[in-house]
Symmetry: C2
Subunit: 298 residues, 2 copies
């Protein structure tokens, strides 16, 4: 490979054909605004791209279908599951709101690696949780200050993280405070950096301690990326210290509460994945890559 | 590495110090029998090792805590979470049954890669679902006929699968019929074969199509292991065909219904992981490997 692109060099950003960098910078506050009032109680169900937002909302709205309003975060590749779900929701709920990019979507949310934020924010606004939504936005805005391209490499944690992940396979280490964060990071890292990473199964400690025991020949070295500080994370870090090439400890975001924290970690990794895509000379967007899926799923 | 051990050679099985092979053969029917009657309605909650059984039971018992009996599938590394959960369960439920290997366990289920079956079977018997339990056992017994060590290599699908996975990284491909199977396979493969594998996040198609795009240098090649035949699995297979080294298609098990099917796939992969551990000259059991975790978590 020739010399790697410089992340402080404007020319590098020409590879960002779909302008994902601009979307990342504009993200805090960039979501569809709900109109009118939605009858309570609320249910949330997520398909495809919508899965993580639905899980983040689950502690507030334990039901999938609710008698008041059911929000269907539909993504766009329903593959026949959406039709059955919509029929059930319309049977149960006074109001059904479908968000996504398929033909059934009433609120358009175009396909993008960044939609988890948009689905989440819409539902928070529509359900009287605007204050939590504002805290998410504050957390993301604070992250953006340090992560956007105008911040030069030594002061930009996302650029540094991208260098740390280069030609390595991340192993996401999160704790019970953020039950779905590892999979959300796996997803955004794939869609932006176009690279594999490993999210552990739910009994993560048993996995970390056994899965690296045989360690047959491996090309790309592993790097444990650690988010959070509860007892499980501390134990996992101790277990992994002797088993991976190195650990990247993510500094705790300035954010109040588990949902803003999770979104801040995710946004930071989205930026790191963006810079990593540029180092790999890949388009950080995925519109072209997903074209084949759109055709196949239609 | 010297010549690989022969899987039809008795001497190879000496590496199985904890006799996991015997436990695998004895598994269908090997679970603690519930005694007495348990008041309905039922709730199920899973921690650590108990997570998958709880998810398999979720469609039947949507509640975690229920007013009648709550079954706590506790594993053994509760790390403080168990105490709070038990207090809440005792507040809510007439009866709380704790299964696992920690000091709180009323029904002992010693730590093992095979406990998902045991947790599941106990709860099925205790909740009037014995017929479904019997179908699980029939499915596993049918698998055992073809997978146990006395079946020589060319006729033994698990031995063949072990050879196919040797020095490769499996990528588990499952569909919405089996929502947690990929993570269950990732777990059992780690605990027995002592090796890493990759379970996709919930929006699996978008992951498969993007995560392999940058494909920087990788040592161990990837193999897609495909279980099931719904539309998502078919699309994933098509996407992966040009992106991984090869696809291993698992023959559908002879089993009635999603739960027996899922257990049959899991049991087959447990056998394949067992043979793979032997090829790697590893003890297929994990009692020794987990000793450090037991110390740290006490």
């Amino acid at each position: 490979m020739s010399a790697l692109p410089g992340l402080d060099d404007l020319a590098t950003y020409r590879a960002d054909k779909g302008r994902l960098g601009r979307a990342l910078e504009a993200l805090p506050g960039d979501f569809p605004r709900p109109e009118g009032a939605f009858p309570a109680p609320y249910g949330v169900v997520g398909l495809g791209e919508g899965w993580w937002a639905a899980e983040l909302l689950r502690p507030r709205f334990p039901d999938t279908l609710a008698p008041g309003t059911t929000f269907v975060l539909a993504g766009g590749y329903g593959l026949g599951r959406l039709a059955g779900l919509l029929a059930a929701a319309r049977e149960t709920s006074r109001r059904v709101v479908v968000l996504g990019f398929g033909p059934e979507a009433e609120v358009p949310v175009p396909s993008s690696p960044l939609t988890p934020y948009r689905y989440l924010r819409y539902v928070l606004e529509a359900t009287g949780e605007a204050e939590l939504g504002a805290e998410v936005d504050r957390a993301l805005s604070r992250e953006r200050e340090r992560l956007a391209p105008h911040q030069k490499s030594p002061e930009n944690p996302a650029k540094l993280l991208a260098w740390g992940l280069l030609e390595r396979i991340p192993l996401w280490v999160t704790g019970p405070r953020h039950p779905f964060l590892a999979q959300a990071l796996q997803q955004v890292f794939a869609r932006i950096a176009k690279s594999l990473s490993i999210a552990p199964p739910p009994a993560a400690l048993e996995f970390f301690i056994t899965a690296l025991e045989a360690r047959h020949e491996q090309g790309d070295p592993l790097v444990g990326v650690v988010a959070g500080d509860d007892e499980e994370v501390r134990l996992a870090r101790e277990v992994l210290a002797t088993r991976v090439d190195f650990l990247e400890e993510l500094a705790p975001p300035e954010a109040q509460g588990p949902v803003p924290e999770a979104l801040a970690y995710w946004y930071r990794l989205a930026w790191a994945a963006y810079y990593l895509a540029l180092l790999y000379r890949q388009d950080p967007g995925d519109h072209q890559v997903l074209a084949r899926l759109r055709e196949a799923a239609e």
